[in-house]
């Protein structure tokens, strides 16, 4: 028996596939790019990485509830910007959205570039016999800067292709990347520590010209660097302190949330939740399996020592070059378990699909925010123009690309200590999430009619709205992260003003983030004043019209 009669009308579509939503979220919390990159930097932490991954995933599940709930109440509305604007006010919505979804992506570009050189350019060039080029990309600031420019070219190409074609590319990359990871795990599980050690010695010498004894030399350099991160164990308190690092990898299962479509019932809410949550859970499990496979054959201690040796040098904490002259990329290390160059190359190319299927996310969301701001007359009309011939939003793209080149140069050449800003890339996004989370907590009380008419109105915990309860838990988690990042009481993260006497007081980081928020505030208040002089009261156009 039908509980709803629907007539023929435009836009009455069926629900999208949960698997498709899963793929987008799965790439957003990317194990191979974000995960392996940030895990490698955590070599000096105490506490077990598996416990840290599980604990962070637990807290981030509440984020998934918050965002799935907001989509259910206000779908297709433009995401964080609109949710915050409608519930907290236009100024907060604009400032937090443009910083979290646009400006901070300028800093993400060199990070994407750094990952591109480590997981694709360097290993592929080395396997093709171009040792000098491989090492140039891996070790030099010029190499990083060029890798960043290549990143910009690739993501610009994605923008020109459009979301439709990029979604297809992403799906191919998903299956190819999974195949690559299975081969890597298979190689690791099929190999032995002795075989790895021998493979490292021979392949490293052949590809990078290293001396004999690289295994022991790397272990010694890593030990000197203070590599202590364990795979398991760690008290709850110690694990908590790893989270501000781990979330660099997994804080974004909601990255596609702003795109999700019409929600007509509780089923769609559950589908939203399932798409994002399953990505988080599957990625966490895959991550743990990969780490266990690494530990089995490469050896956990050696892997972390190699990471410590690399980053200690990369961050300028050690003067001598690490014995292994490239980032210890687990896929490359696993590929050393085979003598076949073709198979090694196949592994690296397949694994690089994790980067190629993910890198488009850096600008696709940003251009949406630029457009939304222009539509709200908070930017000039021109920035929302699309070139008719190529279908490319040229000016919006330039607003991403030009600042990204500047920030990339600062990062690549470590001008003003920009290489220390990695975690700031997540901090600014977390601030945006906090604004949205506060909006979610208040939603049932600030917009009761809208909330009560939504499919999540019936979900309650101890009589309280589920979205508010989940928001309080996730909001508390974000506040903890922000406190740790900004005040750094244990001197562990280096992007804030540490209140620990031995901690780093990172003026560059604070000024950089302050400038981003300052630019956002200047645009908002500047354009508001300008439009007012032209007879447009932007407060009025966002105010609710009386409905009685």
């Amino acid at each position: 028996m039908s509980d709803l009669f629907i007539r023929k009308a435009t836009g009455l579509v069926r629900s999208w596939s949960v698997f498709d939503a899963f793929v987008y979220a799965f790439f957003s919390i990317n194990l191979v790019t974000l995960g392996l990159y940030i895990f490698s930097q955590m070599y000096y932490f105490e506490g077990g990485l598996i416990g840290a991954m599980l604990l962070s995933a637990f807290f981030i599940l509440f984020q998934v509830v918050v965002y799935a709930g907001l989509i259910a109440v206000m779908p297709r509305s433009g995401g964080d910007y609109v949710w915050q604007s409608r519930i907290l006010g236009g100024g907060i919505g604009f400032i937090l959205a443009v910083t979290g979804w646009w400006f901070i992506l300028w800093l993400w570009v060199p990070l994407y570039g750094d990952m591109l050189r480590h997981i694709f350019l360097t290993p592929v060039l080395a396997l093709l016999g171009a040792r000098d080029a491989a090492l140039w990309f891996s070790q030099t600031n010029h190499g990083l800067f060029i890798a960043t420019l290549l990143t910009l070219a690739i993501v610009t190409f994605y923008i020109m292709l459009g979301m439709k074609r990029y979604a297809r590319i992403q799906k191919v990359c998903f299956f190819g990347g999974i195949l690559g990871l299975l081969i890597v795990v298979g190689l690791l599980l099929g190999g032995s520590p002795e075989a790895f050690q021998a493979g490292l010695e021979s392949n490293s010498a052949a590809l990078f010209g290293t001396d004999a004894g690289i295994y022991n030399a790397t272990a010694a350099a890593g030990e000197e660097a203070g590599s202590v991160l364990g795979l398991t164990g760690g008290s709850f308190g110690v694990l908590l302190l790893t989270l501000p690092y781990v979330v660099f990898f997994n804080l974004y299962p909601n990255w596609g949330a702003t795109l999700y479509g019409e929600v007509r019932g509780a089923t769609d809410f559950k589908r939203n939740f399932a798409g994002m949550a399953s990505a988080l859970v599957v990625t966490t499990i895959l991550g743990i399996l990969t780490l266990l496979a690494i530990a089995r054959t490469i050896g956990w201690d050696f892997y972390m020592q190699a990471n410590g040796a690399w980053w200690n040098y990369a961050w300028g904490l050690a003067e001598s070059q690490p014995p292994l002259p490239v980032w210890p990329y687990p896929a490359l290390l696993a590929a050393f378990l085979t003598e076949s160059r073709a198979l090694q190359l196949l592994v690296i190319v397949l694994m690089s699909l994790w980067w190629f299927g993910w890198s488009g996310t850096v600008f696709l969301s940003s251009t949406r925010v630029v457009f939304a701001a222009a539509f709200d007359r908070l930017l000039p009309e021109k920035v929302a123009e699309v070139d008719e011939r190529t279908g490319t939003p040229v000016i919006a793209l330039l607003l991403m690309v030009i600042p990204s080149i500047i920030v990339s140069a600062l990062f690549a050449y470590d001008i003003l200590g920009f290489k220390s800003l990695t975690l700031a890339a997540t901090l600014v996004i977390a601030v945006t999430y906090l604004g949205t989370t506060i909006a979610a907590i208040l939603l049932p009380y600030r917009k009761p009619d809208m909330y009560n008419a939504s499919p999540i109105a019936k979900y309650k915990i101890f009589g309280l709205p589920l979205i508010s309860v989940a928001g309080v838990i996730f909001g508390g988690f974000l506040v903890f992260l922000l406190y740790q990042w900004l005040f750094d009481p244990n001197a562990m993260y280096g992007i804030g003003y540490s209140i620990n006497p031995d901690g780093y007081k990172n003026g560059t980081s604070l000024v950089f983030m302050g400038v981003l928020y300052g630019i956002a505030a200047a645009i908002y208040f500047g354009f508001k004043a300008y439009r007012k002089r032209k007879g447009l009261d932007l407060d009025k156009v966002h105010a609710e019209i009386p409905s009685e």
Binding site: S2, A9, T10, R86
Partner: protein
């Protein structure tokens, strides 16, 4: 100077209709234009269980109602989303499930009943205000509502007409769209749309000072990007893959005649503005299910657009 407020695709939402009628006073607009798709998409059965008890399923959640107060509160909630409440019995519901014609009859009856209420509200709110209101039903709207608009003392049925907005500007209007996968009431092939547009354009004194109030957006205008669907009408790639679905005939007409302004709707997620040559095209989008009236406020002076902004009221 003429200040016009344009909204579209309110799909039966009482809240959005009331907001639309109040928008003239709220924004200081002398002309209100509703771009079409005024009627709702679904009827929600209120199952009479006897003894003043009802069972309602809304958004896949089942509600047990008791008493008139709870009943009326649920009616309000259903109406706020643009759906039509329909009191029925288990026997009738079982019968309706097997009989699409009867369901269609209920749809028409409920649409017209609500529309009649809307006409009364409009007459009450707008009488004597001097605010002009132009309405052109969209492709999702049944033809039966046209006559009710014609009968209204405060609304003007704009479909197919050339309407002077002031001494400088004229407006043409149409709610017809190009073909959709849903085979809706007012859709036709592109050549037919082209003839429809040209017939109106021929009546314009100066097309370059005209407003094209056309429900469907022009093709590839970025205002017409809708989720790409598979053969089962399921969005591909979780709705991330978008494709242009606007009218090529309209695009050609705009490129050829270069009107001052295009006002469009149809694609709810297509909120934005873009230029086709000199023509500013606007689609304010729609969030009718949340009771949010998205619109566009445009000030016209002499021979140009002095200012415009998308609103979210």
């Amino acid at each position: 100077m003429t200040t016009l407020f344009f909204a579209t695709d309110i799909h039966g939402s009482d809240i959005c209709w009331n907001k639309f009628l109040n928008a003239g006073k709220f924004y200081g607009a002398g002309v209100l234009i509703l771009g079409g798709d005024m009627t709702g998409k679904a009827v929600v059965p209120f199952l009479d269980l006897g003894g003043g008890k009802y069972q309602v399923t809304l958004l896949q959640q089942e509600f047990q109602l008791e008493g008139e107060a709870e009943y009326q509160e649920m009616v309000k909630r259903v109406r706020s989303r643009g759906y039509y409440p329909y009191r029925t019995t288990p026997d009738e519901l079982a019968e309706l499930s097997q009989d699409p014609d009867k369901v269609h009859g209920i749809f028409i009856r409920e649409v017209l009943r609500v529309f009649e209420q809307w006409m009364e509200i409009a007459a009450r709110k707008l009488a004597g205000t001097g605010i002009r209101v132009y309405v052109s039903p969209g492709n999702d709207d049944q033809f039966e509502i046209d006559e009710m608009i014609r009968q209204s003392p405060v609304l003007t049925l704009a479909e197919g007409k050339v309407i002077p907005l002031d001494s400088h500007f004229e407006m043409i209007s149409s709610g017809w769209s190009n073909r959709t996968p849903w085979n809706t009431y007012r859709e036709e092939d592109e050549p037919d749309l082209a003839r429809r547009y040209e017939a109106m354009i021929a009546g314009l004194k100066n097309p370059q000072l005209a407003v094209f109030n056309i429900h469907v957006p022009p093709h590839k205008s970025n205002l017409d990007e809708a989720p790409e669907l598979d053969e089962n009408l399921r969005p591909k790639y979780a709705g991330n893959a978008l494709k242009p679905v606007g009218s090529t005939a309209l695009r050609s007409a705009i490129e050829k005649h270069q009107p001052l302004l295009g006002l469009h709707g149809h694609i709810h997620e297509g909120r934005g503005h873009s230029r086709i040559g000199k023509t500013l095209c606007i689609n304010p989008g729609s969030l009718y299910e949340q009771g949010v009236l998205q619109g566009a406020l445009v000030k016209l002076v002499k021979n140009k657009i002095e200012s415009y902004v998308l609103t979210q009221g």
